[in-house]
């Protein structure tokens, strides 16, 4: 048994790639070894900015011998068959064995592979791993053709057994594997010879390299917390930054410094962004003032002056950055003080949103118009929603957001407050982009919700009109995220709104802007009609009639199919996103399907309410059995309807009932109906399904006792009509035909 140690030593590996690269190395090497028949005990992978390291325990000295028999063609088979067999086995004809079988003589190949030394296998597997390494981006250097993330300098590859370490013979584009590594770039740059993983790890530590990224991160966090604590401050936790910083250093040294007093009054988001994004500094908060007053930087070395020079340098760089930020902040505030938010929002008319979708100013007007219509539905003041929509993107024209794009919205809130706008409007500036990611918080303040919805619906409608929909993995305008945002806004706030009319309205606004032949007057009428009555088809008929023979009627008429086609497609996109979202919440896809195929499916809150009730119902024994009962009824009915060429939807008559179970079913259906109808009207799906559950026993009993297709045609028809009643009741609640077999 021997232990394997591999180190791939290169120029600095991007921090964000290190952890995955270490895991990839482990996977590629262990998979390769196992494939070649070499087992191993345990594996561990490590990364630093300059190295990927893998150690495997307990490799056998040799892979086991293998013997494989393969049956070939019969002797009298065509020559071609034999040729194929020889090719497949890599043998020659005289190496084959002939064996007698029942049907005659058959060629057999016996392939015996002797075990191979572990070193040989390791060399092959490692070479393949290096050459096929899945770096997100790789490069060539010098005259070579080898690709690595940055120039690869050396390969350490040793097998350590009872009698010492053996270098695995491997040479790759001029790099010969050895047993040599190097320490810290500056603190211990010399060569180090190692004989085992333990030896390697401890010698590296002496050479100022902490091999384990988790240990580095732990140390950074611990030291930073201690430094902050000792000064009576608190470290602002940031796991992402911690992981990144741990990937930038081999020998972390935590240094804490002051943010200049002149910068402390900048918005905390500005301080944090500037420090984190540009300098990789942690923020340190003064618990007494609640402000960020210090920073922690992590150096990659110790120095004779205990980091004084390094800290002073970092402080200076930060001061330069923050004085820039302060300059922008003060400029922006001065403008806001002079002319309010208009100072910024006015210049958005010169900024293109998208080549085919007009300027930011036009976009804002569209969003404002939609926000006005959505506002009452979500409990917001229409005027406030319009005001919010008009100013919420103004900060895109501010100097601060030009410099720090990640602060969009956040700065808008500050500027809106400074302009004397209400908190609701200011918060809407910050929150209208939300929710961004699937775990991002969903706004709940009515004005924020109104403009967040309007913003996203406008974006989706626009890109649908110019046919720039997401395809496969390509979604350059983040439209999936926008749709999910709409879904989460509606569901989290339990908003009752039909999406269709709003989609239609926004599609129409784009059509109006893009088509000269369509009269704007007509489009406005149409939008008003849709807003009042909600149905596009009826609205356009009304408008066409009102429009009479005036110019542009023909153009208006083209919208009749164009808009509903787009609208349906966009709604289907919403439904797709909803399915993905609900699946994540554990709701089966067929349950969602069963609800999607019901009327009012553009009311997402209603749809989900139905789906939740249905999922809960199906989870009960009654629910599962009733579904079976429904399916049985539906199958019999469908077959009979096909055979007879009629639809059985006529009311069944209890007077033709022959069997007690049949009479009982009539009664049960009546009773259920009187409970289900009001429940459905009040959208109490739980109660409706509870009433349906009571049908289970009578339906089961009915099927048990009664033959549907009897000789007596009157009785048969009556029974089929009775089944139709079951179908109607069930289908009224959800499309049970979509529920998959239980």
């Amino acid at each position: 048994m021997a232990d394997l140690l591999i180190e791939l030593f290169s120029e600095e590996i991007p921090a964000r790639m290190q952890a995955k690269a270490a895991e990839d190395l482990k996977r590629l090497v262990t998979d390769g070894l196992v494939e070649a028949g070499l087992t191993y005990g345990g594996a561990a992978a490590f990364s630093t900015p300059r190295r990927l390291t893998l150690t495997l325990a307990d490799l056998p000295a040799m892979s086991p011998d293998t013997r494989e028999e393969r049956k070939g063609p019969r002797v009298d088979a065509p020559e071609k068959a034999l040729e194929g067999f020889l090719r497949a086995t890599g043998l020659t004809k005289d190496q084959l064995e002939l064996r007698d079988e029942k049907k005659g003589q058959v060629y057999f190949a016996v392939i015996e592979k002797p075990g191979r030394p572990a070193a040989e296998i390791v060399a092959e597997v490692l070479e393949a791993a290096i050459r096929g390494f899945p770096w997100p981006k790789s490069m060539r250097w010098g005259k070579g053709s080898l690709r690595w993330v940055r120039p690869l300098h050396s390969i350490l590859c040793i097998l350590t057994g009872d009698d010492g370490a053996e270098v695995v013979p491997l040479e790759l584009d001029g790099i010969k594997a050895g047993d040599i590594t190097r320490g810290h770039r500056f603190m211990a740059p010399g060569e180090i010879r190692v004989s085992s993983f333990e030896d390697y790890e401890s010698k590296l530590r002496k050479a100022h390299v902490m091999l384990d990224a988790t240990a580095r991160a732990d140390m950074i966090r611990h030291d930073a917390e201690q430094a902050a604590f000792a000064a009576g401050f608190e470290l602002v936790e940031d796991k992402g930054l911690l992981a990144e910083v741990a990937g930038l250093v081999e020998w972390p040294v935590v240094l804490m410094g002051d943010i200049g007093a002149e910068f402390i009054d900048l918005p905390p988001e500005v301080l944090q962004t500037s420090m984190k994004e540009h300098q990789k500094f942690f923020s340190v908060k003064n618990p007494k003032t609640g402000r960020i007053e210090k920073f922690v930087t992590v150096a990659n070395r110790e120095t004779a002056d205990h980091g004084a020079t390094i800290l002073a340098g970092n402080q200076k760089v930060l001061a330069a950055r923050l004085s820039d930020a302060k300059f922008f902040w003060e400029n922006d505030l001065r403008k806001v003080a002079e002319t309010g938010m208009a100072s910024m929002s006015d210049s958005l008319s010169n900024v293109t949103f998208h080549r085919e979708l007009g300027s930011q100013a036009e976009r804002i007007d569209r969003i404002a118009a939609l926000a006005r219509r959505i506002a009452p539905v979500v409990g917001a003041s229409p005027d406030e929603a319009v005001l919010a929509a008009k100013v919420m993107k103004a900060d895109l024209a501010s100097e601060m957001v030009y410099e720090f794009p990640e602060l969009q919205g956040i700065m808008g809130r500050y500027y809106a407050k400074n302009a004397g706008l209400s908190d609701a409007v200011a918060d809407a500036c910050r929150d209208h982009y939300s929710p961004l990611g699937p775990s991002d918080a969903v706004p709940s303040a009515p004005v924020s919700v109104a403009v967040a919805l309007a913003d996203k619906l406008d974006t989706l409608a626009g890109f649908w009109v110019i046919d720039e929909k997401p395809t496969g993995s390509k979604d350059p305008y983040a439209l999936r995220r926008a749709a999910l945002g709409v879904i989460r806004l509606i569901l989290a706030n339990e908003i009752r709104m039909r999406l269709d009319p709003y989609i239609d309205i926004q599609l129409l606004r784009f059509k109006d802007a893009r088509r000269d032949d369509v009269p704007s007057e007509g489009v406005e009428m149409l939008i008003d009609e849709i807003a009042d009555h909600g149905v596009f088809g009826a609205a356009i008929e009304t408008v066409l009639k009102a429009f009479g023979e005036k110019d542009g009627q023909a153009a208006l008429e083209t919208l009749k199919t164009e808009v509903p086609d787009l609208s349906e497609d966009l709604l289907a996109f919403f439904h797709d996103r909803l399915k993905v979202h609900l699946k994540g919440e554990g709701i089966r896809h067929d349950v969602i399907d069963a609800c999607l195929h019901m009327p009012g499916n553009d009311d997402l809150t209603l749809l989900v309410k139905r789906a939740n009730a249905l999922a809960a119902f199906l989870a009960t024994e009654d629910g599962a059995n009733l579904t079976q009962g429904f399916k049985r009824a539906n199958n019999i009915l469908t077959q009979a309807e096909e055979k007879d060429g009629v639809e059985y939807s006529f009311g069944a008559d209890p007077k033709f009932a022959e069997d007690d179970t049949e009479i009982a079913l009539f009664k049960a259906l009546d009773a259920a109906d009187t409970r289900i109808k009001p429940a459905m009207e009040s959208e109490d799906f739980g109660a409706a399904m509870g009433a349906m559950a009571d049908l289970r026993a009578p339906i089961d009993a009915f099927f048990e006792a009664v033959q549907i297709n009897t000789e007596n045609q009157i009785v048969r028809r009556n029974r089929l009509n009775l089944l139709a009643q079951i179908r109607d009741i069930c289908m009224n609640v959800a499309d049970f035909t979509r529920i998959e077999g239980t």
Binding site: R140, W141, G142, R150, P189, T309, K316
Partner: protein, 314 residues
């Protein structure tokens, strides 16, 4: 790393001189700046074109560079519309390029034992040159002092062999080394000289003049015409047959054509500063300059310097 104690430089020009001496000692040809307006040292044909083809190359030079949009009338402590870059290009990239680079920092007085030097991921891309490479920005105590790039592609051509490129932002680096907070206060020559000049003495007035010109005065109509002219000229230069009818020699005019590409790029930068290019148009202009750069790269690889064997006269 050498343990020799290096003295602190006293002025901006001393830092430049030390870099020149250092890279000369490492075998680079110390070239002079290119005599055209460029946005960065990379535009010098000694980098852009020489990174192409198989011939070895090692050059170092100062390149005055212009970024019209960065003009701040000489008031901003760090931003200038005209500044200097120090550029090193070595092909093929030597295996010890990082050590060579660190040596240059020591040469200008950065004590490696006291500072924290870091190589932080930064993939370089020049959309106007159709070029990209992988490398880092080099940090000294949290301050970006250089760009370090292994060129992978230039003008749409794969680089074989790969060049290593180092770019130092000279003002920023010098301010750091000299401990100066405002660029205009930096000593340009020795502060003890009989006529001591600061960076501001040399450049404050020109920063003002060019800021005004770039933002408000440059005639956009004329610039647009110049852009079109440079574009047309570049293309027409390259349409000439490879063989010169007068001398009978094969003379591909890659460099004269590339001059026009540089010109178009600078005019585009001026138009951008004048604020007459919309976000969408921006991409289109960049694409047009890139198309020129690509044509020039295609032409250069047909030349001897671009690695083509000289043709036997037929």
């Amino acid at each position: 790393m050498a343990e020799t104690q290096v003295t602190k430089p006293k002025s901006f020009q001393e830092i430049i001189l030390r870099l020149q001496t250092y890279w000369a000692s490492k075998g680079c040809a110390v070239l002079q700046p290119y005599d055209m307006e460029v946005g960065a040292g990379t535009f010098h044909p000694a980098t852009t074109l020489r990174a192409l083809g198989s011939k070895p190359w090692a050059a170092a030079y100062v390149q005055p560079s212009r970024r019209p949009t960065d003009g701040r009338y000489g008031e901003n402590p760090n931003r200038l519309q005209h500044y200097y870059q120090y550029q090193v290009l070595i092909k093929p990239s030597p295996p010890d390029l990082q050590e060579l680079y660190l040596g240059s920092l020591e040469a200008i007085g950065i004590d490696m034992a006291l500072h924290d030097i870091r190589f932080v991921e930064d993939d370089w891309e020049s959309p106007t040159l159709g070029a990209w490479g992988l490398g880092w920005e080099v940090w000294c105590d949290g301050m970006e002092v250089s760009q370090f790039t292994y060129f992978q592609q230039v003008g749409g051509h794969d680089c074989h062999p790969v060049s290593g490129e180092l770019t130092y932002g000279l003002e920023r680096l010098a301010m750091y080394v000299l401990g100066i907070d405002h660029v205009m206060e930096m000593p340009f020559n020795d502060p003890g000289a009989p006529i001591a000049l600061s960076y501001g003495d040399v450049f404050r007035q020109t920063e003002e003049e060019y800021s005004r010109h770039n933002f408000d005065a440059a005639d956009t109509e004329r610039l647009l015409r110049h852009f079109e002219d440079a574009e047309a000229e570049c293309q027409s230069i390259l349409e000439h047959p490879a063989t010169d009818p007068k001398t009978g020699k094969r003379i591909v005019m890659a460099h004269p054509a590339y001059d026009q590409c540089i010109k178009a790029s600078h005019i585009f930068n001026l138009l951008d500063a004048r604020g007459v290019i919309s976000v969408t148009e921006r991409q289109a202009y960049i694409g047009r300059v890139r198309a020129l750069a690509k044509l020039c790269a295609d032409a250069f690889v047909q030349t001897e310097a671009g690695g083509q064997q000289p043709e036997v006269a037929s």
